[in-house]
């Protein structure tokens, strides 16, 4: 989809040059492959399930330096690594991992930063098992991949706690102004890349904190806000300006900003509009979209109510509809807010769940109940219009559908009723409509997404690029960042060529 199945010839040349450096050769010789393959994957230290499911502090504690070096030693430093092409932002993974093995953590961090503006975030939230770690040759040989994600997290945490990332030398200002719409994963990435290239970048963000889904969606126990704050502060040190509470499309349109002298635009306005199933009772009190539920708890800090003013229902028996990462975040949040029972209701089976393996595993440890092959058909309210029960239907798996997953088919007559006092719908969202509605000439696809040329992320309007959920409809942080890297490269070329505004 992104047009990036292979790594570019220039990157391949850089990777090879690193591979052939003397220290790398020596490191490869120092430990035989057989010995490396005998080392077990270093487990991620984490808080005990019975403790962590009562508060919002982070679950994973991070590898210690000796554990990180041992993990890095497992990497075979393959001559033809698969991992780099498995990474949507094309980090030179073998080089950073070998720098960890060598003990040069600062250099490893700098290596990652060449390709990734948000390493501490990606080390925590990327689905590595379906990306870099899936194509790891060690996994093919032994069944257990190098823990690339855990190493990325280790290296970026080391960098942050030892004085922070050094600001690279920035070329002289180009005099070009770039407007980035949305301070989410794609917007932050584009801003970092273009600021480093010498352009003047302003990010316009509708909410009052930067981060997009990283701040309103992903909970503190998986991605502490302090990590994000540090990443955003780094961008500000690169010279990026942030305009908060500025809703492009409303406070000013793209055309208004063009008239104000912006030369290029990146639209990363994300997925708005939560989807519902359109079944009876979905607007009862106590039925939330995952976006609202998580926004109340994360962005507005409802977990600290009434010290913070925004409330949220705690729920006694909470049901979360869906099987993705957002569903896992929601159900684990409900448990932490005091739900005696917190359930996942998913229409397919365990094998089809799109959530990261680690999130599912953590949820199970924390006492989340999984109800597979089940779908709600209606919600029942009490006399105050509050949800008190839901009717569900059992499903069975039929033939594979367009996604390749077996289609769930209702089992006739299998309806049953179950008591719930909190429901969170985590079945996806549609693109935010504000920019498409207010930007004449912008070509929009049938699902409300912005149409782009996938090789450059250029939209139908000259100088306007887009990426992330506003073009994909609903994807991951790292795919949004991959789009952003592609867009930033094309935008930089355009700004340097001095194309007409």
């Amino acid at each position: 989809m992104s047009g990036q199945d292979k790594i570019s010839p220039s990157l391949a040349a850089e990777v090879l040059a690193e591979f052939e450096k003397d220290w790398r050769r020596e490191l490869r010789k120092a430990v035989p492959v057989k010995e490396r393959m005998k080392i077990g994957r270093q487990p991620m230290p984490q808080r005990a399930p019975g403790d962590r499911n009562k508060d919002f502090s982070e679950v994973n504690l991070g590898l210690a330096a000796a554990e990180a070096v041992a993990e890095a030693r497992r990497c075979l430093d393959c001559a033809k690594p698969g991992c780099i092409a498995g990474c949507p932002v094309r980090i030179d993974i073998p080089t950073f991992v070998k720098l960890v093995e060598k003990g040069d953590f600062a250099a490893a961090a700098a290596k990652i930063r060449e390709a990734n503006s948000l390493p501490a975030v990606c080390g925590r939230v990327c689905p590595q098992e379906t990306q870099c770690e899936e194509v790891c040759h060690l996994r093919k040989a032994t069944g257990v991949a190098v823990a690339i994600g855990n190493l990325e997290r280790f290296v970026s945490d080391y960098e942050r706690t030892s004085g922070g990332a050094a600001v690279p030398a920035i070329p002289p200002p180009t005099g070009r102004k770039v407007a980035v719409v949305g301070a989410g994963p794609s917007g932050l990435t584009v801003a970092g890349e273009l600021a480093r290239a010498g352009h003047r970048v302003t990010i316009f963000e509708a909410l009052h904190d930067a981060g997009g889904v990283l701040v309103y969606g992903i909970p503190e126990f998986r991605l502490p806000k302090a990590i994000l704050v540090a990443e955003v502060a780094y961008l500000e040190r690169l010279g990026v300006e942030l305009r908060m509470n500025f809703i492009v499309g409303k406070t000013a349109t793209v055309d208004d900003l063009r008239a104000d002298g912006y030369d290029a635009f990146f639209i990363g306005s994300g997925a708005g509009l939560p989807n519902f199933m359109k079944i009876p009772g979905e607007n009862l009190v106590g039925v939330y979209s995952a976006n609202e539920y998580l926004t109340r708890v994360n962005l507005m800090r409802a977990y600290d109510f009434p010290r913070y003013d925004t409330p949220v229902f705690p729920g006694r028996r909470a049901a979360v509809i869906g099987g993705g990462n957002v569903a896992m975040d929601s159900v684990r949040t409900a448990k932490r807010l005091g739900a005696e029972q917190a359930l996942i209701i998913y229409r397919r089976s365990r094998a089809e769940m799109p959530a990261r393996v680690e999130e599912v595993h953590h949820a199970e440890e924390e006492g989340i109940e999984f109800h597979f092959l089940t779908v709600p058909t209606r919600y029942i309210g009490d006399e105050h219009g509050r949800v008190k029960a839901m009717e569900c239907l059992r499903m069975e798996l039929g033939e594979p559908d367009a996604s390749g997953r077996r289609r769930p088919v209702p089992v006739a007559g299998s309806e049953f009723m179950t008591e719930v006092d909190l429901v969170v719908c985590a079945i996806g969202q549609s693109p935010n409509p504000l920019i498409p509605q207010t930007t004449p000439g912008l070509s929009i696809g049938k699902w409300g997404t912005i149409d782009v040329d996938w090789t450059t992320m250029a939209t139908s309007l000259p100088g306007v690029y887009a990426g992330g959920d506003i073009v994909r409809g609903g994807a991951t942080v790292i795919l949004a960042m991959g789009d952003a890297r592609t867009a930033a490269a094309a935008m930089d070329r355009r700004l340097r060529e001095g194309a007409p505004k």
Partner: protein, 276 residues
């Protein structure tokens, strides 16, 4: 950051807030709202825009001090900074030359119908303004509304301004007296739903500006969903104006009251902290 130009008590419990927000002042249209958060621990709430000055770059909203957020807003002074004053949000009201328009407002809605009165009058309509107040001393902005009104009707419950009756009776009287082409009602849910029932038998087109609970206000969270004509709509991006006769009022009442107990708890906690 948005700076408070003016915050005054207009009448008991009702305050006016004028804020320096040049970008919003340049863009806003009748019927739109802003999202306001009074401090870093506050809640985001929508306030309907009651006036603006494009030259001075200010936006004005009127609110009633009821919960924690509005109490905090009611303590602002000129020169204070509001961390969040974002907008203009929602779709602008559709204003046309329709003939005779009855604009009914109660509580904060008296200010919210002001931009509509100005725009409908400018569009060549006959404009009847009907304000609903509990007692005569709660009337505000008569001077701002009157210049745009061909007729100014006050529905007061203490009788100093005429009949002691609720606003739906006035609406029925006006409908019985002359041909009304459109009714717009803005205020509490009770005011809007009772006017909807008053105009329903005659089938007069009636528009309400709905006031569900919102969080982000930009179409992201879905807190503000309302059922209109059997379909779920998001008031922040599909509204806030809707056809009053198609709104599921019972659902809106229930959803408005979602956090009633929490609102009391929040206010008590804030009072204990603020006035120890």
């Amino acid at each position: 950051m948005p700076r408070v130009v003016r915050r005054e008590r207009l009448v008991p419990n009702i305050h006016v807030l004028e804020v320096e927000a040049p970008e919003i002042a340049r863009k806003c249209q009748p019927g739109q709202f802003v999202i306001v958060m009074p401090d870093a621990r506050g809640e985001r709430i929508p306030l309907t825009i009651g006036d603006w000055d494009r030259e001075r770059g200010t936006v004005t909203a009127v609110f009633m001090a009821v919960g924690t957020t509005t109490r905090k807003l009611s303590l602002l002074k000129a020169g204070d900074i509001i961390p969040i004053f974002a907008g203009p949000l929602g779709l602008p009201s559709e204003i046309g030359a329709v003939g005779t328009v009855l604009l009914a407002g109660g509580c904060f809605g008296i200010s919210a119908i002001h931009p509509l009165a100005r725009a409908y009058k400018a569009a060549g309509n006959r404009v009847i303004v009907l304000v609903d107040i509990k007692a005569d001393y709660l009337l505000y902005w008569r001077d701002k509304l009157a210049p745009h009104a061909d007729e100014f009707v006050i529905s007061s419950r203490d009788g100093l301004y005429g009949a002691t009756d609720y606003v739906p009776r006035h609406v029925r009287d006006i409908l019985g007296r002359e041909k009304i082409d459109r009714v717009v009602a803005i205020g509490c849910t009770y005011l809007m739903s009772s006017i909807a029932e008053a105009t329903r038998p005659a089938g007069v087109r009636t528009v309400v500006s709905l006031n569900p609970i919102m969080v982000d206000g930009t179409g992201m969270c879905g807190a503000c969903r309302v059922t209109v004509d059997g379909r779920t709509k998001f008031a922040c991006v599909d509204g806030p104006d809707f056809d009053a006769h198609l709104v599921d009022w019972a659902e809106l009442y229930a959803r408005r009251k979602s956090y009633f107990d929490d609102e009391v708890r929040s206010l008590c906690a804030w009072e204990e902290e603020t006035y120890p």
